[in-house]
Subunit: 274 residues, 2 copies
Amino acid sequence: MTTYKNEQEFLKQYDSSLYEKLSMTADILIVSVSSKDVTNYRKNEEKRMSILLVKRKDYPYKGKWCLPGGFLDPKKETLEECARRVLKQETNLSDIYLEQLYTFDGINRDPRLRVVSTSFVALVDKNKLKEKVENASWFDIIKMEEKNHIVSFQLDNQEETIEFQVRKELREKTSDRYQFYTKENKSLAFDHDLVILSGLERIRNKLQYTDIVFNMMPEYFTLGELQQVYEVILNKKLLDPAFRRMIADKVQKTERKKTGEGHRPSYLFRYKHE
Amino acid sequence: MTTYKNEQEFLKQYDSSLYEKLSMTADILIVSVSSKDVTNYRKNEEKRMSILLVKRKDYPYKGKWCLPGGFLDPKKETLEECARRVLKQETNLSDIYLEQLYTFDGINRDPRLRVVSTSFVALVDKNKLKEKVENASWFDIIKMEEKNHIVSFQLDNQEETIEFQVRKELREKTSDRYQFYTKENKSLAFDHDLVILSGLERIRNKLQYTDIVFNMMPEYFTLGELQQVYEVILNKKLLDPAFRRMIADKVQKTERKKTGEGHRPSYLFRYKHE
DNA sequence: CCAATAGTGTCTGTGAGACAGTATAAG
DNA sequence: CTTATACTGTCTCACAGACACTATTGG
C-alpha cells in the first residue's frame, strides 16, 4: 500500500471495491398480545402472545412464512431506519418500541447469496392496528414449551397451525448463552425459527427488569389484564398479592372501571412514567 | 419479476448484484484484568480492568487507537469466525470467551465507504498471554465514571494516557436502553468509544447473573482476588460476608495457600462448574 | 344465591446489608 | 507488637411466597 500525505488524499484514492461485499437485511419480530374470547360469560378472555408473519411470494422459500424484513439500502439508511421502514409498511405504525436483537449470519442462511441479517424486536399494542396488510398475518403462540433442551412451538392464525422445534445448546458453562439449531421446521423461511426464539427469550428476560410490557398494553387496562400479559410471557401463573406489589409503583389508578364482566368490576390503570 | 417453476431454477437465474452491497467488519473488545504492584509490602496488589487496543498504521484514523478487528470475508467465514481469526492474530489464543455484542452501523462511521461492524466482547486471562504483539497495547481503565449522563474514561498503557467521554441518553422510558453519542474523543478511531462503553456495560450486567468472571481468572485464585475483580468491574466496594455468601457455590476450596504477603495467608480456590 | 374475578391483610422464611469480632502471616 | 488481610458469627430489616379472607358484579 502506498503512503498518503493525509486522510483527505487517502480518501480520494480509495478504491471501495477492494473488500468483498455482501448484502444485509433487517428482519423484525413484531410482538403483540391478543385476546381469545371464552364461552363462559363470567370468565375473562384469555391472552396470548402473537407475532406477525408474512407469506413469501417469491423464491427462495416461496409459500413459507417469514418475519417482515427488507434489504438495507447502504447508501441511505441505518439498519434501524430500515427496520422502521419495514414496520411502517407492515403495520402502518411509527413510534413503536424497536430494539436490536442479534445479527444472524450463517453462511448459507439465504441460498441466493451471502446475506447477513440484523434482527430487531418490536412491541406493539394490537388495538392501534387497523387495516389488514396483504400477505401478513398474526399468529398466536398457542404453545411454547421447553423440554430436554428442545423448545417446541405451535403457532396459529385461525386458518392454519404451524409447528417447529429449536434445539438449545449451552455455549459455555460460565454464561447463559445458548446456540440455537433448527430441529424441525417445515413452515418458516430462512433461520427465522431461531430469530423468533431469541426474540421471545429477550422479551421474557427484559420483562423482569424493565417496563417494556406497557408497549403492548392499551392506555387503560386492568391489573388483571396486565397480570395475564406477564403470565403469558413468563409462561407461568403469578400470585396476585406479589404481582400487585411488584407493579404498584409502575401504574397509576384511575377513577374508571371495567364493568359488564359478570363479576366484580375492576379499576382501570395506566402506566406511570417515573 | 418473472415466475419460476421451482427454487432450483430461480437460484440459477438469480442475479446477485441486484441489491446494493456493503462491507462488514468484526471488532472485538478484548477485556482482561491486570494487577498494579503497590509500594507497601503488606498491601495486596490493586486490580484494574484492561482492554487491548491497536494503533492504526494507515488512513483512515492513522495513528489513532482502535479495537482489534478485521473485514469479513463473505465467502468463507461467519462474523464469529472472523472475530476468532482476529483474536488468534492479536493474542495468539484460541478457546476464548467470545460473545456478540451489538451491530454498529452509523452511515458515516467509516469515511471510506459504508461499513457495518458487528462487535464482540472477549474475556481473557492475562496470565495466558505471552509475547507482545506488534502495534497492540493493553490499556488499563484507570477511570470510568458516570456523572449527569456523561461517562468519562481514562485509559493508560504506561506510555500514554488517553481520555474520552460518551453521552448516554435513555431511548425510551419503558426500557433500560441507551443511545450513546461521542462527547469528546481525540484518541480513538471510528465509533470505538461507543463500542467500549457498550461492552463494559454488558460485562457489568452479565457479572451479576452469570459466571463470566472466571474467564478472566487464573485457575487458582484467592477469594480476595476474585472479590477485587468484582469490585473493579462493578466499580464499588463489596462487603466481605455478602460476597462470600454470593460466590460460595461457584468456587471450590483447595488445600493450597497463597503466602508471603505480609499478612494472614489465603486459601486458593478454583471455579466449580455446576 | 352462585360463579368468577377484584382486591387486601398478614404470616413466615429467606437472604442481603451491616457490623463486629477472631485468626494469622511478615516484619 | 503492628499492620494488613482472611474469614466467620450474627443481628436486622426488607421483601417474596403463600394462604386466607372480604368485596362486588351479572345472571
